[in-house]
Every structure is written in structure tokens, then in C-alpha cells.
């Protein structure tokens, strides 16, 4: 088990001078430009930003699915060259293997590493027990609720003992109540494992509630607009979300994102032609009108 949940104090993510462009027929389109972020070992860092700002692109580059056009992504000094088991990933669409049972899904990473069957079965059972899923080990994912699926997704990503955990809007498809529970579970697991977490979300409350630090991105082409430390004490309770401290952070982040969202929308609306939409600005900015 020790190598399954290796509790190293490593997992230093660094993204330097990062930019990423897609090739299109009209030439390259910048998705992310001039971005620097870092996650210290054991830190919980979120990235928020308006939709389409490239936060998932950035995360996918850290995972190794996308190659940066310029700049470099390193984990503990080693350059990221492609996906690997040392960077666990949790997806919004759960992406469990439908043809594998819950336990087989969790075992997958260990199987890839060549761990013998009996050993990985035991490890998977222990992990499922921690997530309260031992009763469902033989079920196929299709039979599970969204929250349970995502718990399996998180456990599966943690099973190989990765240095960092990357989550791409993992709770975006869940209902509000389940989302809150999942945030608690994730916090618990993170505190036990002392693993570095990079978390992408568009939910500001979620980002503040979970993180040590939040990066706010600009509208496309995305770059880091602000870096906000979250000094809220841990363990954090749901009630904390009503505290003045929390609300102040929320207001700050909200206005940052609102600005960027409007910029993004304004761009689109201008592209479509304001006359066609019958919007008269009368010298006001779009932000004032909306």
C-alpha cells in the first residue's frame, strides 16, 4: 500500500512563459498567452475565469495532453512531455470506463503499473472504503449517481499515488447539494494525502472554499489577471461561506470575472454586429447596459 498512496511532499508544478495557439485556416489563434503559474508541494490552487478563457487548455497542458507553443511546464523540475501516471486527472464527464466495474476502474492505474491482481484488488478495496463506495465495487458505472461516479473518478486518479491531482471542472455536472458534499470529500482526501492540487472551475464559491490560492484568468486569449491568496482558516465549514471574509473575497473575484466575461461577450456581440441585435449603447459600455 505504501507505494499506492505514497505521501511524498513533492509535486511542485511550474508553468513559465506559457502560451498556446491553435492552427486554423485563418492562421494561429491564441488560446493562452504569457502565463506563469505555480503550485507548491501540497498546495490547493484553483484557476477561475470566464468560459472559453483557456483554463482547461492550461490544465490539459499541465496534464501533458497539449504541447505549449512557447514556454515550459515542469513538475518537480522535470519537463512535462506527455500524459503520465504521476499527474492524476479528474474529468468533468467522469470518464469512467463503462466496461469496467467500479473496482476495476480504480484498479486500472495499478494494473498498468504491473501490480499483481490480488494486491491491486486489496488496494482498490481500501480506497473505495475511504470514499464510502465499498458496497458498489462490483457495479458498473452506469448504475451510479453522478456524485458516486465522480468519487470513483477521484479515487481512480489517486490510486497510483500521483504527485499532483488535476481536476477539470469536476463537479460542474452535479447538483448543488451533491457538489457541496463532493467538495468536502475532496478536501478530506487532499488533507490526508498532502497532494498538490490544480483545480479548474467557473464556480467562484467553490474556488474560494477549496483553495489556498486562486488564479483568475482574463478573457481569451487567456492570461493570468490576478492571483488571490485565500487566507481562510482550515478546516473550513460550510457556514464559513456566509462570513464577511469569504464574502469580501467573493465580491473581489466576482468583479474581476464579470469584467472579463463582459469583455468576452462584448467581443462576440461586436463580431455579430450590434445593429442586428438591436442593442443601442448610447455611449455606455456594454457593462453598464447589462
Amino acid at each position: 500500500m505504501s507505494e499506492v498512496l505514497a505521501n511524498t511532499s513533492k509535486g511542485h508544478i511550474e508553468v513559465r512563459n506559457f502560451s498556446l495557439a491553435y492552427e486554423t485556416i485563418e492562421g494561429p489563434v491564441q488560446a493562452v498567452t504569457d502565463t506563469q503559474i505555480h503550485v507548491r508541494p501540497g498546495e490547493f490552487v484553483s484557476i477561475v475565469g470566464p468560459s472559453g478563457c483557456g483554463k482547461s487548455t492550461l490544465l490539459n497542458a499541465v496534464a501533458g495532453f497539449l504541447k505549449p507553443t512557447t514556454g515550459i511546464v515542469t513538475v518537480d523540475g522535470d519537463r512535462v512531455n506527455g500524459p503520465s501516471a504521476e499527474r492524476g486527472m479528474v474529468f468533468q464527464q467522469y470518464s469512467l470506463f463503462p466496461w469496467k466495474t467500479v473496482r476495476e476502474n480504480v484498479e486500472f492505474g495499478l494494473k498498468m503499473r504491473g501490480m499483481p491482481r490480488s494486491q491491486r484488488e486489496r488496494a482498490a478495496r481500501t480506497l473505495l472504503g475511504l470514499a464510502g463506495l465499498e458496497a458498489f465495487e462490483k457495479h458498473y458505472p452506469e448504475k451510479l449517481s453522478g456524485g458516486m461516479k465522480q468519487r470513483v473518478g477521484i479515487v481512480r486518479a489517486l490510486a497510483t499515488g500521483p504527485k499532483v491531482l488535476l481536476l477539470d471542472e469536476p463537479f460542474g455536472a452535479l447538483d448543488a447539494q451533491t457538489r457541496v458534499i463532493m467538495q468536502q470529500i475532496l478536501t478530506n482526501m487532499w488533507q490526508r494525502l498532502k497532494i498538490s492540487v490544480l483545480f479548474v472551475t467557473h464556480d467562484i464559491d467553490e474556488a474560494i472554499f477549496l483553495s489556498d490560492r486562486v488564479y483568475c484568468m482574463t478573457a481569451r486569449p487567456g492570461s493570468i489577471k490576478a492571483e488571490i491568496p485565500i487566507p481562510l482558516e482550515r478546516p473550513r465549514q460550510q457556514s464559513m461561506m456566509m462570513s464577511s471574509e469569504f464574502l469580501a473575497l467573493r465580491r473581489g473575484l466576482m468583479s474581476l470575472i464579470r469584467e472579463e466575461s463582459l469583455k468576452a461577450m462584448g467581443g462576440e456581440i461586436n463580431d455579430m454586429g450590434m445593429q442586428g441585435l438591436n442593442i443601442e449603447l448610447h455611449g455606455h459600455s456594454l457593462a453598464d447596459v447589462i
Binding site: M1, S2, V4, L5, N7, A63, G64, F65, G82, P83, S84, A85, R87, G88, M89, F91, Q93, S95, L96, F97, P98, W99, K100, F108, G109, M112, R113, T126, G129, L130, A131, G132, L133, A135, F136, H139, Y140, E142, K143, L144, S145, G147, M148, R151, R156, A157, T160, T178, I181, Q184, I185, N188, R192, L193
Partner: protein, 302 residues
């Protein structure tokens, strides 16, 4: 179990709310209460009402079909279509009871089954791996796909003269035609399945440490299985179509030949018997494939 930090406090590892959520999930099994036989029977009836209804109506409709057939033939109805020479169900049944004891009839059936087995198996053994490889490796796809697209629209029956030239024996050419009939549906559906594999699942496997071969085995192949089985089912249907046509044209044995021979020998009851035998064999073989599919893909049943 040398991860004390994780294992020591399993009781506080989950908030109670999460456990509550787990217990109201759809997968939770109902609490078993002791029930009398009567209650269980009633429950079974209620749960299976839809299926029972469908079965009952199905049987009734088959009986109605036989009855109409019987009436049309006993009164020798001529109304655009001529039922004068069409054998009645009872006549067909009589010829069935004699045929079942006739080793020649059984040999026709066995030979047809053997041709289907060899031709279809070859199609599956070649078509499925080829489809998987074409789906995964662009170059193979680019080389083979155009040829396949040109050959695919040619009906297997149109291959009969060519097959006779290609193969030294009649038997081989019939098997070849059966193979061709099922090969293309298998290939095309496997390819289709490969093209629909969710790229996020491939990514998930990659960041769990899976390399190319494992991804192929653990993601691409199982993800394509439902379409592969669609291809096998369609392929089996076309295999029978092709086989019967080939047997009627160039065969000396087989159920298709039996049916055609019955017409030549003016044994009208045997025509219908041959047709029914073909129908039953086709139905049986597609049921076999469906059963195999359920065995191979347990996550899709129930």
C-alpha cells in the same frame, strides 16, 4: 497496508452526508422482506407484465398467420396472387416429419451450417482486427479504405461467376461468397465503432499510465464492442442471404439447393419447408450472436 495516515481512521474518512447519499443512490438494493409464494408470484407478474403481454400477442399472431395460410390454401384462393399450388401448413408439416428422418435433408442443413460457420468466422476473424487496425492507424486506413469502398457495393451474388473462376472447388467458392457477404458489414461497423471511441476515455487511460498497447486492449477494443456486435449481427444476416443465393445458383447440396431442387422436382411442400428451415436457421444464428454479445459485454445487459 503500510499507509497508516489513511487507514487508521476509516470511520471519519467520509462525511455522514456522503454515506446517506450513497444509500439513496439508484443502485441500492431493496431490503428483502420475507414474502409468501403468492406475493412473490404477484410481484413477478407485475414486473413482467409487459413481456408476458408481448409473448401472448406474439403467439396469437403466429397462430393467426398459420390460420390465414391454411384458409388461403385449402380454398385455393386466386386474387392477383395464386394460391392454387401453394402447399398448406399441414402438408408442410407432413413433409417436415418425413424430412426429419431423412439423412439427406439433415445433410443439406448441416452443410449449409458448416458453410455459414466457416465463411462467417473468417469474416469475423479478418474483419474485426482489420477494422480495429484501420481505425487506429491512419496509413492502413488510407491504403485499404478506398479499395474496400469500391468492392463493398458489389452484392455477394454478383461474385458467383468470379468465385467459380477463383476457387478450385464449388464448396470453396460458396464459402467465399458467404465470407464476402458478411465481411463488409463487420468491417464497416468495427471501423464505425473505432471512430466513436470517446477521446476523453483515451486521455483518462493515458494519465493512469496506459501505453499504446494497453489503450488498444483496454479502451479502443471494449469501446468498439457494441458496434462490432452490430456488425456481426448484420453480417450474419447477409451471410445467409449470400449463401442461399450461391447454393441456388451453383450448389449441389445445402438448404438453398434443397429449396430450389424441390421446385424443379415439383415437390411444393418441400419449397415451404426449405424456406422455413432457412428462416429458423437465420433466427437461431442471430440469437447465438446476441447471446455471445451479452456474455462479452456484461456491462450492457440488465
Amino acid at each position: 497496508m503500510s499507509s497508516p495516515a489513511l487507514v487508521r481512521h476509516p470511520e471519519d474518512s467520509m462525511p455522514a452526508t456522503a454515506i446517506a447519499e450513497a444509500s439513496r443512490a439508484p443502485a441500492a438494493t431493496p431490503l428483502a422482506t420475507p414474502a409468501s409464494f403468492g406475493t412473490i408470484a404477484l410481484r413477478w407478474y407485475r414486473l413482467n407484465q409487459g413481456r408476458l403481454r408481448a409473448t401472448a400477442i406474439g403467439i396469437a399472431s403466429l397462430i393467426a398467420f398459420l390460420l390465414v395460410w391454411h384458409l388461403l390454401t385449402t380454398y385455393r384462393v386466386v386474387f392477383f396472387v395464386r394460391f392454387t399450388n401453394v402447399p398448406s401448413p399441414l402438408a408442410v408439416y407432413a413433409s417436415f416429419t418425413t424430412a426429419i428422418h431423412d439423412p439427406k435433408f439433415l445433410m443439406h442443413i448441416l452443410l449449409s451450417c458448416r458453410r455459414i460457420f466457416i465463411g462467417f468466422s473468417l469474416a469475423a476473424i479478418v474483419g474485426v482486427p482489420l477494422g480495429l487496425i484501420m481505425g487506429r492507424f491512419k496509413l492502413v486506413h488510407e491504403v485499404i479504405f478506398p479499395v474496400a469502398e469500391v468492392l463493398r457495393p458489389i452484392p455477394a451474388i454478383a461474385w458467383v461467376p468470379m468465385a467459380i473462376m477463383l476457387w478450385p472447388t464449388n464448396e470453396q467458392s460458396i464459402v467465399f461468397i458467404t465470407f464476402l457477404g458478411s465481411f463488409f458489414p463487420v468491417l464497416v461497423n468495427t471501423l464505425h465503432g473505432m471512430s466513436l471511441v470517446d477521446p476523453v476515455l483515451v486521455r483518462a487511460a493515458q494519465c493512469l499510465g496506459a501505453r499504446e498497447r494497453s489503450i488498444f486492449r483496454e479502451v479502443y477494443f471494449p469501446a468498439s464492442l457494441p458496434h462490432i456486435f452490430t456488425g456481426l449481427t448484420v453480417g450474419m444476416g447477409v451471410a445467409w442471404v449470400s449463401l442461399i443465393a450461391a447454393e441456388m445458383i451453383s450448389g449441389q447440396y445445402g438448404i438453398g439447393y434443397f429449396t430450389w431442387e424441390a421446385y424443379s422436382l415439383v415437390q411444393y411442400a418441400d419449397i415451404a419447408l426449405g424456406m422455413i428451415a432457412i428462416g429458423v436457421l437465420g433466427l437461431g444464428s442471430s440469437l447465438l450472436i446476441r447471446g455471445a454479445g451479452q456474455l462479452v459485454m456484461p456491462w450492457r445487459s440488465t
